[in-house]
Every structure is written in C-alpha cells, then in structure tokens.
C-alpha cells in the first residue's frame, strides 16, 4: 500500500511540474511586446524634422542671437505633436550652455527619452556655431 501511494505522489508531482512548465510557456508567449526602440526612433525623427524646419531659414540662429528663448519654446510646442515633452539645451562651440531660460514644455519624467543633436549658425556677421541638444519623451 505504501509503495502504491509513493507511485501516485510521483505521478501527481510529474503532472504538476508539466502543468507549471506549460503554463510558463503559455504566459510568457503572451507577454505584451515592447516597441520602445521604435518609439524612440519616431521621436528622434519628429524632433529633428522640427528643428530642421526652424533652422532652415535662420529662425533658430536669430532667436539664439537675440536670446528669444520663449519664441523657440513656443515654436517647438507648435511643431511637435501634442503629448510629446521636450527639453532643449543650447550650447556654444565650446559646449557652454547659453540658454538662460528653460526651453521645455514640461518636466521630462519619463525614462523613455530620446535625444537629437542639431547644429545651426548665427545670422550675424561674426561667425557663431550653436549646438542644440533636444531631449524628447512621450508624456505619460
């Protein structure tokens, strides 16, 4: 009787193990996919597209020369899709930050930020080169 019971317990153990292992396969196969990489590329493309259009006619260079940070912030807010948070930092050629005001629409709390670098030049007769670092994230 004792031998028979031992065999039953082993069979139950085996069944439980099989059920658990197959459940693990089933659950893990249905885990939601994460397209974080793609979203970052989309954001980077959108950000670069916006900076490029603002810089193409010298608007960015002129605003930086005149320290018109709010104009840049408003223009970026308009050109970027709603639901995208941004933070722009502007450096001179020696990588010293020159924007004295925060050029952002909200705090970048998300960990899924992406980064775009854009270079533009001044419209003044004195040559100046500016390096723009734009951080973007999808708002939660």
């Amino acid at each position: 009787m004792r031998k028979a019971n031992t065999g039953q317990v082993r069979i139950i153990e085996a069944f439980l193990a099989v059920i658990i292992v197959f459940s693990a396969f089933a659950i893990s196969g249905n885990l939601p996919s994460n397209h974080n990489v793609t979203r970052k590329e989309d954001l980077a493309s959108i950000g670069l597209n916006a900076l490029m259009h603002l810089g193409s006619d010298g608007f960015l260079g002129k605003c930086i020369d005149n320290a018109e940070w709010s104009s840049i912030r408003e223009a970026l807010s308009l050109l970027l899709p709603s639901g995208v948070a941004f933070n722009l930092t502007i450096y001179d050629s020696a990588m010293r930050q020159i924007n004295t005001e925060n050029i952002a629409n909200s705090g970048l709390n998300s960990q899924k930020t992406t980064f775009v670098e854009y270079i533009c030049v001044s419209q003044n007769a004195t040559f100046r080169c500016y390096i723009l670092h734009l951080h973007l994230a999808v708002m939660a």
């Binding site: 292992v21 996919s33 259009h53 006619d57 709010s70 050109l79 709603s82």
Partner: protein, 355 residues
Amino acid sequence: MPTASIDTFIACSLMVLLVLTAMANTSKLLYPYVDGNGMASVTEKYREISKYILLNPGTPANWGENAETVPENFGLAKDDLGTIFDLDVDKVSRLNSENAYALSYAQAFSALGMPEVSFKLEIKPIFDIAINLTATYPSADETTYKFRITTEKNGAPIAAELNYYVIAKEHVAAGFTTAENGEIQLNITISNSVEGPALLVAFARAKSNAKIVSFEAHPFAHNSQEPQYKNAFLRLDPLKNSLSVVFLNQEISVLEAYAFTPDYHAVLKPTLNGNNSVTYAIPQFVSASPTILVVSGLNTTTFFIEWTAYPQLPLQFGADFQNRDTLSNVFAYTYIVTINSALYSCTVWLGGPKS
C-alpha cells in the same frame, strides 16, 4: 505519506518554481528584442516609404503642373529639391478631390509601385483657426458683425497675428489684429449700400514664427440671403499659378477675382475667356502662406462669392483605414512639411498585410 516523499515533492516544486521564474524573466527580457526586431524592421520599412513619398518628386518630376499627366512614380517633393520636406504646391493640390485635375487613389497607388502597401495622406495647417459669427448690429447706414475667432492646437490656445479681408460686391477691406490668448472678438462694419453675401478671409500666423500659418474663410449674409454652400456656382481649380474658373450653369457671369495672402492681395486679370470658363494668372507672392483665391459673380442677377485655397488644403487622400486594427498593420508617421515656404503638418498612414 513518508517524510522522504514530502521532501522530494517540496524540493521538486521549488526547483520547478525556480526554473519557471528564470524562464519567465528570460522570456520577458528577450521577447521585445526577438519580436520587436521584426516589428522594428516593418516600422522602419514603412517609415522609409513615407519619407520616399515626401522626399521624391516622382516621375515626371513636374507631374503636378500638367493637368493631364498621371505620374509613373508617385512623389510629392518639389522637382528642384531645394530643401527637404519641401512639397510641390501643384502636386499637393492634385490630391484634393475638389480639384478637377485630382489624381485618383488608384492612380497614386499604381504609381507608388508597391502593391502590398496601402497609404493615406493628410496635410493640414499646424494649428486651427475657427470663425463664428456671434452677433449682428444693423443700423440705418451700416451693419456691424461681431465675430469670435479662435486659434488653437488640440484645444490649447495659440497666440497669433491675424490678417483679415472682407470681400463683398465691389468691396474689399483689410484689417489686422492680434489674438494674444488664442481668441479675439472682431467687429466688422459694412455699409448697407454694399451688396452681399460677404466673405471674411482670415490668416493667423503664430507669433513665435510667421511660417506657421493657418487660414479660414467664412461667408455670411449681408443685404442678402444666407450664402449657399461652397462650389454651388463655380468650380475653382488652381494649378501652375493659374486659376481655372468653370461656371456650373449658363446663367452665371464672373465679376471679380482676387488673390489674398496675409501681406498682399491683388485683383486677378483674366488670361483666357471661354464660353463657360475663365482663366486667371495667380501672382507669386513672397508671403510664406497659402493664397486664398476669391471669385465673385452673378447668377442671373443674384450676387455670389466663391473661394478656394492654393494649395488646396486641408486634404485627406488615400485608403480608408477604418478597420485597420483587425485587417492589417497600420503605421502613422507625422512630418512637418513646407509648401510655398509655409509649414504644414503631414501625416502618412501606411498599411500592409499582417505578418
């Protein structure tokens, strides 16, 4: 049950749980890269197609200018390739179904040359402007109309500079104001000797950047009945800096044609007179803005006024992706594009069979 069996059972269960946890964690870590890479490559493929449509002028490169030309390869970029994402005003206009020379989706689909890819395009101003007539104050000699004009993007007000024109029979008046908080109450006074209906054309330019422009036209009754719907009397087809005006019945005669931008306006001169059509040359203004074309005329003796934009925006063109979630993978890409130096938002939807 013997103690040894219980021990074995607990040990095996723990081992299975351990293995299970490890598998689940490994799977969770690797799944995005295993499946995501496949999805990323599809996304990347569609992104490149969307860019191809906007960066490639198509073949022939000037297919937009020639009303009868159907492109062999579909692309919307200007043929001089000055700056990227700079679209051709005529190619864009030929996507609007209001234009007599509009491409059909079947023609564009064939010209894209990708039988497994359906697409849809939407091009529109970056922010919206809305005009509402809120009150009318008639008096003996003149009537004052009160309009509420709002400028917003997704509900957020946009500070904008507003250039406007009021057009009626033998009457054109211009004005300028500022909508600091995305809203303005505008009073317009028209003499009662002027015959209507009248048309209020408004351009809103973002204060931060004058290339970000939106526009709207609002017809309203003045010494007249309520204006009829758009294209009731004339069909207006702008193409290649030329406006073709086709009369929709035999009783119609044209009085005046105008072109408006925020900074300039002009009376158009006819270049060709037909039995039931007139062609006008559209001047090339330097404003970074669409041009609003207004034509007034008489239907027997009743005055009317019609308008269109050049480029003919906003527009939606292409496939209907209403059942996109169940039938196919659909990806949307939004770009900022330039048309005649003004900035617009362009969204490209691309869909293909679910892989």
